[in-house]
Assembly symmetry: C3
Homo-oligomer: 263 residues x 3
Amino acid sequence: MLELRLVQGSLLKKVLEAIRELVTDANFDCSATGFSLQAMDSSHVALVALLLRSEGFEHYRCDRNMSMGMNLQNMAKMLRCAGNDDIITIKADDGSDTVTFMFESPNQDKIADFEMKLMDIDSEHLGIPDSEYQAIVRMPSAEFLRICKDLSTIGDTVIISVTKEGVKFSTAGDIGTANIVCRQNKTVDKPEDATIIEMQEPVSLTFALRYMNSFTKASPLSDQVTISLSSELPVVVEYKIAEMGYIRFYLAPKIEEDEDMKS
Amino acid sequence: MLELRLVQGSLLKKVLEAIRELVTDANFDCSATGFSLQAMDSSHVALVALLLRSEGFEHYRCDRNMSMGMNLQNMAKMLRCAGNDDIITIKADDGSDTVTFMFESPNQDKIADFEMKLMDIDSEHLGIPDSEYQAIVRMPSAEFLRICKDLSTIGDTVIISVTKEGVKFSTAGDIGTANIVCRQNKTVDKPEDATIIEMQEPVSLTFALRYMNSFTKASPLSDQVTISLSSELPVVVEYKIAEMGYIRFYLAPKIEEDEDMKS
Amino acid sequence: MLELRLVQGSLLKKVLEAIRELVTDANFDCSATGFSLQAMDSSHVALVALLLRSEGFEHYRCDRNMSMGMNLQNMAKMLRCAGNDDIITIKADDGSDTVTFMFESPNQDKIADFEMKLMDIDSEHLGIPDSEYQAIVRMPSAEFLRICKDLSTIGDTVIISVTKEGVKFSTAGDIGTANIVCRQNKTVDKPEDATIIEMQEPVSLTFALRYMNSFTKASPLSDQVTISLSSELPVVVEYKIAEMGYIRFYLAPKIEEDEDMKS
C-alpha cells in the first residue's frame, strides 16, 4: 500500500511539465527514502533524475518498494486537472495495475480522484557516481532559460565557457553569431538573483540547444539553476525542489572530433 | 421601428460569444416583453433559449413584434468591434432587410454604426413547459467550466450524480477514469462561491461533454450556474443575466439502452 | 567606424517590430545627422521612412556616411534577444561586412554581442517634398489601431473622410457596412487622448486596410498618430519617436476610376 500526501501539489504538476517533453514513459520508484525517477529521453541522449524525499510529504506511507510505470503525457493530463492550491495524494494498492491521484481543494469543497492505468516498462537504473567538476555555475533559472531560448533563434548548439570572471554562452548560425556573457555577481538584493561561479579550471564545452531548452522547462520549480561542467563528463543541469529534492538533467557534450569526422 | 439601447453593451457581446459556437443562424424575436432567441444547435441536439427583458434596456422601443434572422458569426464579428464600455443600440426599420448596431463610447467621442444584412430563417418556436426537477444544483460557473474542461481531457461523456451531500461528475476514457465531487457549501464569504443542492430524490444522468463545454462559454455572463436534472427531461444549464434575463441550454441525457445496443 | 549607443534600447526593438512585416531587406543609412532608413514595402506600394536623430543617442560616432543593408527579419530576431531595459549599441567597422548589436543589462551583469552579416541592397533614395495637406488628423494611436483592425473584419478598404466635426472611417463587405466617427476632442485629461483635426477643406480618400493595419504595428512607439491627407498625395501616417525622430508611412489612395475600370 502506497499513500503519499503532498500539501504543495503544484510541485508535482511542475515536475511533470518539466519532464513530459523529454520522457515519454518512465518508472516512478517509491521507497522509504522517497519518490524518485530516472529515465533517458526518447532519443537516449539525455538523462533525467528526479528525487522527492519522503520528509517533504505531509504523509508518506510506502509499505514496500514499488516501481510504477507511467505514461508521462497521460499523467500530466491528469495532474493538469488539479488546482494550483490543491493537495495531491498519490495512492496505489500492492499489486494493483492502477494508480490514483487525489486532488483536494484547500477548503475541502471539491475532491477529485483520477485513476490511471500503469504500464510495464523495462528500465535499468544507472548508478551516477558523485564527481568533481571543473566549474560549477549557479545563476537565476529565468536568465538561463532566456539565454537558451535567445540563442536558439540563431544556432543549434551552445558553447558554454567558464572563466573566473563569468560564464559565456555562444552560438553561430546562418544569420550570424551571438555571445552572451554573465558576470559573477554575489552582491545582489535578492539571493535568487545571484550568479556565482566556482571554478577549479577554465572549461569550454558544446551542447545541443534543443536539450538545454527542454531542461529549462523545469524553471518554475526553482529560482536558481546549477550547471556543473567538466570536459570528461556530462553536464549536470540541476533545479532544486524546495526542501524536498531535485530534478537533474545530464547531457553529454558534443565532441569536436565528431564534428570534424562528419565534415 | 425597433430601437433597443443597452447601456451595458458588453452583456450583448458576451451573449453572442456564449452561443455563436453552438448556433449558426437564428431568429432574434423582439416584442414588448423583450429581446429573445430560441434555437437548436446545428446538429439538432441542444437547444438554447435567451431572454433579455425590455426593463433591462435604457430605452426599449418595439412598435410591433419582429423576428430578425441573423448569422451569429457575422453578428459576433460586428459586436467584437464594440468596446467593453460602449453603449450598444440595436436599430431596425419596419420591413427593412438590415439591422444596425450602434456603438457609443462612454464619453461620446467615438460613434460606430455597423449595418448587417438579415436572413430568412425557418424556425418553429418550441413551447418549453415549466417542470419539476428531481435535483437542482447551483454552483460557481467557473467551477463548472473547469470541471467540464478537465473531464474532457479524459473522456467524452460525463455522468452527473446528485445526492444530498453533493454533486459528482464522472468520466472514463482510454487513459483511466475521473470522479470529481463538489460538496454542498452554503457558508461562504461571497455568495457567488456557494454550492447549493435542492434535491427531491437522487438522480444520475449521462451527457455528452462536448455540449457541456459549449454551454460553459456563457460563464462570463454570470458567477453562478444552475443545473436542473430529472431522469425524464433534458438537463437545463442556466446562466442568469443580471437583472435582465437568462440564457438557458437544454440537452437530452444519453440513455444507457442506446449505449448497450451499440455495443 | 560606427558606434551608436542607445540607452532606451527598447525603442530600436519597437522600430523593428513596426517595419519588419512591411519591409524584407533595407539599407540603414548612418550620417552625422542620424540613423535613418527609407524603403518600399515588398509589393512596392507603401513607403516607410525612419529617422533616429544623432542627439537621441547617448553616444553617437559615425566617422563617415555608411549604408548598411540588413535583412529586417534577421535583425528583428537578434533585437528580440535584448531585454526591454537593455542599452543597445550598434557597432560596425569601416568596410566590414558585418554589424554588431551589443546588449547591456541595466546592472551590467549580462552583456551580449550579436553579429549579423550585411547584405548588398540596391536602393534609390526618394526625395519626399514637404507638402501642404488638406486635412491633418491627430488621434490616439491605440484608437486608430483598433479602428483599422475592427474594419478589417468587415471589408478590405477604408474610406477616411474628414470634416470639421470629426473623422469618419468607413468600409463595406459581404456581411454589411461599418462607419466609425471620431469627434474632435481637445478637452481631455491626458493630452495623449486628444483627437485634433486641422482642416483646410473636407477630404475623403480610400485606402487598402491591409497596409493601414501594417502601419499600426508602430503604435507601441507613440501614444498619438498623425494622419495627413490630400486628394493628390499619398497619405502620411506618422508616429513620433520621443525626442529622437519619427517613423512615417506613405500610401497612395485608391482611385475610384481604377475601381470602375476593373468592374
